[in-house]
Amino acid sequence: MAEFLQITLSGLATGSIYALAAIGFTLLWQASQTINFAQGEFVMLPAFFVLIGMHVLGLPLFVAMLFALLLSLILLGAMFKKLVIEPMLPHGTLPIVMATIALGILMKESVKEFYSAEAQPFPALVSDRTVDIFGASVSFQDIANLAISLLVVVALQFFLNGTRTGRCMQATAQNPGVAEILGVNIKRMVLYTFLINAALATVASFLISPIYLAKFSNGEPIGLVAFIAAIVGGFNQIRGALVGGLLIGVVDNLAASYVSAQYRAAVPLLLLIVIILVRPQGIMGKAEGRTV
């Protein structure tokens, strides 16, 4: 029982980080029909910004993290929108998919070429002590990861539902034509979405890199899991992406412990197949129907 609890909790912790990437993924889709196949690399890269800040510029950790966040907002938020998505958008979804796949490869190979092909240690934000919860020994790191991720999600939900700007963003995502005729600055709302995605990816990067180390190839599994989490949860729902991320984290961890560590990577895919067969709109998703 204690072991089960331990595995579940650490699954939730990893899953909550996946959820951050999945939520960003969902937001981009809603705001601009962008399916970002570079999302995993978006999570991989900010860790290297931190390392550059610390080792090249000699900044202390927290300053380096701010530096990384700023760089991510500019590069992965504003520039990504301006230089990759905007020129591609008039040509439809498929060219965007190809462009983001290419961008992912570029980011990955650049890190390998210009920084290092080796996994780099990344400083942990909290101590690696463990704490005993009902007999299960849970690491502080897991608890902190879960708490920080959930806090970020709650803050995001509050921003989207509780502020006028957030509601304008929702209007832009749900019905851009209407938002426009009401005078909402659509371009700015879409930009905000890209900035939020960059910020989410950065937070995910800070949380996951101490566990997996910073490596150029980290983006592949994370991007895949984020994509699956978004679909499993329901592509058009933030709550869905959260649930999808947590679910995959837990299922993945349980499978690795109780079924087979070799086949753990297959488990999210199996989950995806089952969900698509049984509930194609996702766990939390609503079928994109219209009422009369």
Partner: protein, 241 residues
Amino acid sequence: MLELKELFGGYGKMTILNGVSFKIDKGTITTVIGPNGAGKSTVFKAIFGLLNIHSGQILLDGKDVTRQTPAQIIAHGVTYVPQGRNVVPQLSVLHNLELGGITAKDQTLVKRRIEEVMDQFPILREKRHSQAITLSGGQQKQLEIARSLLLDPKLILIDEPSIGLSPNLVQEVFQTLKKLRDKGVTILMVEQNAKAALAMSDYGIVLELGQRRMHDRADALLADPRVGQLFLGGSTQKSVA
């Protein structure tokens, strides 16, 4: 108060408006009628800055507002209710109303106006916390009209308000528009249900092939046999010839 001068425009290279000109007065209801594809809705889009205008001018109270953005047009006191469903589906009724005043600097005024329009449309007060998607078609249309009133517009462009509404509700919407007119609001409307619309309007404009064919008092147009011809799918020109 609104004047179109020799307006040419369309989507991309396709031209829909072929030199439309007309002028409407303050505090009147004018209905634009015409066969499908005459460019009725396109005229509205042109006024609201949503169309590629090739040449010509749009004047609002004498000011040139041609090619301005929707936000700029709203700032001049014009609102637009397009045809079809135009609510933000997953936001509440209240937040949909709030969006109608999103461009206003004074948000306390917007809050007061929301209360006022909910008095005007009691069903919206009743459902204010429901998601807009859960409203019936008629209720959604009321929400859209209420939303367009939030900024106390001088001019309302309303496209096919009767589509999908029950006859009772159509009369209700028309009554609302008349009340607004009596308060000095100018209304320009496109309506499929041309007879009913002309019957409640002050003026009518017949549009055909992107040009103005007739512009007269609504009762005169109703009595005109050429207009009757138009309702039956004919053309004003054939009957003249």
